[in-house]
Symmetry: D2
Subunit: 146 residues, 4 copies
């Protein structure tokens, strides 16, 4: 699918707002079906044992996969997460987290995605979590009201 | 399993720190194997369409299930999330979110939990998401270093 | 939603065919959004340690949830499983397995379901697994060809 | 980890028994942390619309990931599935199914695995499903009795 450069740039800006801006995620790169994000780890992100909170890692995976999906649907459709599963291979810490999301299978209404989260400390990059999502693309006029 | 009242009170306080405090979660009640939490919805919690971000809902479910698990393990063990799956039955909005977590099966090293998230608007309470987690109880001395 | 009795009876018969008949599942009862099935455990169902194979337990959960979903959609729609997660609380054995599936949330195109699997030995019934599925209801004319 | 050739051969034989033999799975190749299996599709494997039953596909993914895990644990440990999630990208049909399972992260007691299932028709091989599992390695003497 051909995706306009303007559309990608707009989505990349759009991606960082609300909760995602609040927790400090940054957009790194967005291409059709692929999105990479980063988050500098700070004290506010940690859980009781000093690791990045599992909920933070999951939010990052969810949002990164969500905008990877956005890049493959027409501009009059919105993306909602229907469900996901995330596995934590090890507790996450370090300088920052990087998340790489991609679309495995894009249908008109349903998109399957995967997102890998890496912990980066100095020059070491370690896979800490993998998530698999089912996203739905909803026409704007059918979106429920917030 | 008999759980000391002091231990429950301490866990309930301990539950609200770091990332969880930052996003505004509150502990409502903690009994052995059951934890209830709330979060008043504010602008900082929303995604691009004005709903509570799926990542926020998941963080709430994860943490609530995590401390429900904590309440059933000896004081020298820590809880880490190994994995979970969450399904979103409808987008979440309203005045606040409430999460009810409980332990389905508690083993010595592995605990299976479930967490239901409700959106509350005025007097209406709607189930918006359900998560199933696998938690692990790690002896303090074997915890990885953050 | 009103579901005709004839439709339920037809679905209950329809449920036991192909792979499901081959592995020995039986329909117990089907009401709108709820389906119960059973499977008498035999040698052919076991894995290397003498327990019911995890794949068998999952097939049972998937199919039971699938036909619980069928009971809530118009007769010109077919049900396909988009994804599920299943947790095994303990290895399963005994005289037979019973599975209780129900629809948590039924949309026009997407249905969320849950299925609990019990192992029954004599008079003891033990919860051994819980699954959560996302089903899709596809109009017959849009079904892919087998 | 060095895995003896004899051990791998024995595991490869051991993999095909009970339920797995009954449904017709074959072992193709087993190396440390990787297992490939195949299943020739027959009428007994199908669901109501003529596709391979989702439960069959899941059983294949589960078992393939299970023996990929077996290949990385000491001979006095047994593998049990704690949970998995499987996504179905499209209905599966064709001549046979092939499943490729691998271990993502092997701990002493917990192993995270992934299994991809392909449908093969003539010269076309299509990814139809992906599963992520959490396996546990249990010392023989601690195994529950079947």
């Amino acid at each position: 699918m051909k995706v306009e450069k303007d559309r990608l740039n707009q989505l990349k800006r759009d991606a960082i707002q609300g909760f995602i801006k609040y927790i400090g995620m940054k957009a790194v790169s967005l291409s059709p079906g692929r999105f990479t994000t980063r988050l500098k780890l700070e004290k506010r992100h940690l859980q009781q044992d000093g690791f990045a909170h599992a909920g933070l890692v999951a939010a990052m995976a969810d949002h990164t996969a969500g905008y990877a999906s956005f890049s493959l649907v027409p501009a009059d459709r919105r993306i909602l997460t229907m469900e996901y599963k995330i596995s934590y291979f090890r507790p996450a810490g370090g300088d920052y987290l990087e998340c790489q999301g991609h679309v495995i299978k894009a249908g008109r209404q349903v998109l399957f995605t995967q997102a890998d989260v890496y912990a980066v400390k100095g020059k070491t990059k370690t896979l800490v979590a993998r998530a698999m999502h089912t996203m739905t693309a909803v026409p704007v006029e059918k979106m429920p009201k917030a």
